[in-house]
Symmetry: C2
Subunit: 239 residues, 2 copies
């Protein structure tokens, strides 16, 4: 089982938030529904962006050892509690907060994600490789119908991307050399780190992930593949 | 998502060798094919039994700290090298030995396994929980069409069943309390340990696993469920 056009390639490891699923639209939609139910007046796009903006810095505190290991569920909850205060949102029960925090388990896929993964899976092992914890990724896969062969997570390395150990651990768990695995991501920093760990790289820009931000979406010859979406990736890998 | 007849049950964790797949028939069949190709005269049923019989003691050496952590692939290979000598099998190249060692990645499922897992998966998270390493389980799932939501392995705990940490780690990775997870196995020792770790238990005897051994196949009220096969398990769990 290896790609006709990519000798030696055995597995694809996917970044998830933004690459496979559209976190922003889902968080905004669920925020609006919660706001209607509770009579809240909140700028939900700004709330979604702020929640996501808190993610990198909170992982950074774990990566630098300022916080002990915490799952993304725990980090999302820390950020949520700060945002509820900042946005002046009161009146939510503990159960309501916990349920809203789990919106990250219920993110919807991009239109090409499920079909693209299904095609790629015919020829390669397809695995998640997300900073999201295993429980989050398993629940998301059931929600969104993502046909993973393996749910791999930074949690299994006890480190967060872009630490190189995360990419190496993924290859090791699959019983493969790093060069037999291709990281697929919409974010160039993730791919540069994967490349430094010896993985191959595929860039799939997702212009709708953060439509209100100036993100670098340009193809780059430093990556082994640049693809428009997962169907184009399947075409280019010959599956 | 929880069983109609089993309040609070969210996930099923399956032992794999013997419970989901028929290791003995597959090893015998591949042994015979190898023997024909290489002109070997070997009692392949005895060889298969001896290979499997080496498994518990070699894991025991890891569990007691007499060996550093080794994956099941590594332990299977240690045993294989002993057996090739004991059965007087020569003339295999390193690539042939390595390929034969990977027969454990290509085991065939019992006739009810795939359909049963697919039914159970509609209502529960279905995960492997095997002493087999992740790579072995991922390759086996692709070979046999096993529709796991999550490939969990003792490897992720760095311990082997029946150490209780393996069962607890599985529940933790799924974000569940032990009592929200049911261990499914054909082996009573596995279930007793799972129960001691706080998991629920389902016994599915597999009389064809070791037809030449006197194995305890009797139902036992100590387990939460006793089922004839995975379809009967799905019936009893109301899925």
């Amino acid at each position: 089982m290896q790609g006709k056009r990519t000798p030696g390639l055995r597995a694809l490891a996917f970044d998830v938030f933004g690459t496979v699923v559209d976190w922003r639209s889902t968080v905004i939609r669920e925020g609006r529904a919660l706001g209607q139910a509770k009579g809240l007046d909140v700028d939900w796009p700004a709330f979604a962006d702020a929640w996501r903006d808190g993610y990198g810095p909170s992982m950074g505190r774990v990566r630098r050892g300022e916080l002990p290991w915490k799952t993304i569920d725990e980090l999302h909850r820390m950020i949520l509690d700060e945002l509820l205060a900042r946005f002046g949102i009161g009146g939510l029960s503990e159960a309501e907060k916990e349920d809203f925090n789990r919106v990250w388990h219920r993110l919807d896929p991009w239109p090409d994600s499920v079909d693209g993964l299904a095609r790629l899976r015919r020829e390669f092992i397809v695995a998640s490789l997300s900073n999201g914890n295993v429980a989050l990724l398993v629940n998301m896969a059931k929600h969104a119908g993502l046909p993973w062969d393996a749910v791999l997570s930074a949690e299994l390395a006890g480190r967060y991307k872009p630490d190189l150990e995360v990419y190496r651990k993924a290859a090791d768990l699959l019983g493969l050399a790093p060069g037999e695995v291709m990281m697929v991501a919409a974010h160039k920093g993730d791919l540069r780190a994967a490349g430094a760990a010896g993985l191959r790289t595929a860039f799939v820009p997702r212009p709708r992930e953060r439509p209100n931000r100036d993100i670098d979406l340009s193809y780059d010859a430093a990556f082994d593949v640049n693809a428009r979406d997962f169907l184009d990736l399947a075409d280019q890998l010959g599956t």
